[in-house]
């Protein structure tokens, strides 16, 4: 009880503090979201379980032949991780929308784009990063060729950050809708395609023994663009969903 009070008080306190207002508000948002997410462990675990399940379906649906699986493993792992990240997006702003704390974020004197970015950072930390760490394990199960495991994890870690940023735009646009889930995937999946191409391409290149730096550099460039532009779109979309 005591600790939950502390998390609720944190954003309010920041408003009384004119000095370093943005830093305090960012810290408070990060801390609050992390605490909330870690209390609902199921929501953190669900995408990971989904990822493992989808990967289990492919050998059953296609063939247990290791050579065949190894050939399609980079694409399978990337597509399954992408879908798992998509699955977790709907809840990104949902509970904040329902309990009214999203309105408080809008009312806060700090720029909404920065606060939205903090929420996305937490989402990546608890969805994208675990998916990236888990992918090599599933790679073993698909007999992914040796030498590509580190690239798989790295490409997913960088790529899912962009996925979280782009996906948050869709989540912010659909948060006010009762059944936004299916619509969210229609909005977001086409925008995910470049990241999928370069992410799976990096793993493929690592298997072939080509240089992977080009792919990773482009993934990084996409992340830089997304970091620069997505927060503004997220903020505008949140305003539409709240005021609408």
């Amino acid at each position: 009880m005591h600790s939950s009070n502390a998390t609720i008080d944190a954003p309010v306190m920041s408003m009384h503090d004119p000095k370093g207002g943005l830093v305090v508000a960012l810290n408070a948002t990060l801390k609050r979201d992390l605490t909330l997410m870690l209390r609902r462990r199921g929501e953190v675990l669900n995408p990971l379980v989904f990822f493992a399940l989808v990967i289990t379906l492919f050998p059953i649906g296609i063939s247990p032949d290791p050579e065949l699986l190894a050939a399609i493993a980079p694409g399978l792992l990337w597509v399954a991780a992408l879908l798992a990240a998509l699955l977790s997006l709907d809840s990104l702003f949902r509970s904040d929308y329902e309990d009214g704390s999203l309105e408080q974020l809008l009312l806060a004197p700090q720029p909404l784009a920065a606060l939205g970015l903090a929420k996305v950072a937490v989402h990546w930390l608890l969805t994208g990063l675990p998916l990236a760490l888990m992918a090599p394990v599933l790679g073993i199960m698909l007999s992914l060729p040796a030498g590509s495991y580190a690239v798989l994890a790295l490409s997913l870690a960088v790529g899912t950050a962009s996925l979280s940023l782009i996906g948050a735009i869709g989540a912010a646009l659909t948060v006010g809708l009762a059944r936004g889930g299916v619509l969210l995937s229609l909005l977001v999946l086409p925008l995910y395609i470049p990241i999928l191409i370069f992410g799976a391409g990096a793993v493929q290149a690592a298997i072939m023994g080509d240089g992977v730096m080009a792919h990773l550099a482009i993934l990084g460039a996409l992340l830089a663009v997304a970091l620069m532009l997505a927060p503004w779109a997220i903020a505008a979309s949140l305003r539409i969903s709240i005021n609408g």
Binding site: L173, L183, P190, I193, A236, I240, G244
Partner: protein, 246 residues
């Protein structure tokens, strides 16, 4: 300049000016499309490699051009609506989306039909077809998002934001798909690598492209006019116009 923009933003003024412009665009569209079709289908020489099947280009290329231009114009209209709160811009954007999706579908379908004589199959994951397919999904997303909101104003603003996000992504998607395709399909027959077209084939294509654009402008004017009437149905000038209550 500002007075002009302000005037253009008034639905009533737009309604009367578009009434004057509309017949010109319909006339131009009819003339260009009839000329282009006849010239392209009956008089242009057959391709030495593809024979008569290349004539599908006269529908395929203009539709593909239009599909991309409409998305850009829709995003610009969305930007105008978001920045200056000009309602006519949003009305235009709302009627552009279905037409753009239809043009994308026409481009995809004609591409698939063209694929039968050239590739021997209805569908290939060709870079251009793939980007067109993604564009179709982007259009469907914008249309679905607009329809999902119960308040029209929220739907308009959400669709505007999505159109702008989409238009930033279209070049990124296009180049990454091109890159993906060249990586996976190194040496197959490609319709992109053709030699420069002779004048007799190229001229009717240009006419068809211009015809498609005139048709698009005429149709957008017409449909924006009916959208104005629908949304402004309770305004006095509309009621007077339809001869109801004065």
């Amino acid at each position: 300049m500002w007075a002009f923009i302000h005037k253009l933003g008034s639905p009533k003024w737009f309604y009367s000016i578009s009434a004057k412009l509309q017949p010109w665009f319909w006339g131009a569209a009819t003339l260009l499309l009839v000329t282009g079709t006849l010239w392209g289908l009956a008089f242009a020489p057959a391709d030495y490699q593809q024979g008569n099947s290349f004539r599908i280009i006269y529908v395929h290329v203009p539709a593909a051009f239009l599909a991309q231009s409409i998305f850009v114009s829709m995003a610009i209209a969305g930007l105008v609506f978001m920045v200056w709160k000009i309602k006519v811009a949003d009305m235009a954007a709302s009627v552009m989306a279905p037409l753009g999706a239809a043009m994308t579908f026409v481009a995809l379908f004609s591409g698939a039909v063209w694929g039968v004589p050239t590739w021997g199959t209805w569908w290939m994951w060709d870079a251009r077809l793939t980007s067109m397919l993604i564009l179709l999904f982007l259009y469907l997303g914008v249309i679905a998002l607009r329809g999902a909101f119960s308040s029209r104003d929220s739907g308009s603003r959400a669709a505007s934001v999505l159109a702008m996000v989409g238009v930033i992504n279209i070049p990124i998607i296009k180049y990454s798909v091109d890159w993906w395709y060249t990586l996976h399909q190194p040496a197959t027959f490609s319709i992109t690598g053709r030699a420069a077209m002779p004048m007799e084939m190229w001229a009717p294509l240009l006419i068809m492209v211009l015809g498609f654009y005139s048709f698009f402008i005429a149709l957008i004017l017409m449909r924006t006019r009916s959208e104005i009437l629908r949304r402004e149905a309770n305004k006095r000038w509309v009621r007077e116009l339809v001869g109801e209550a004065r």
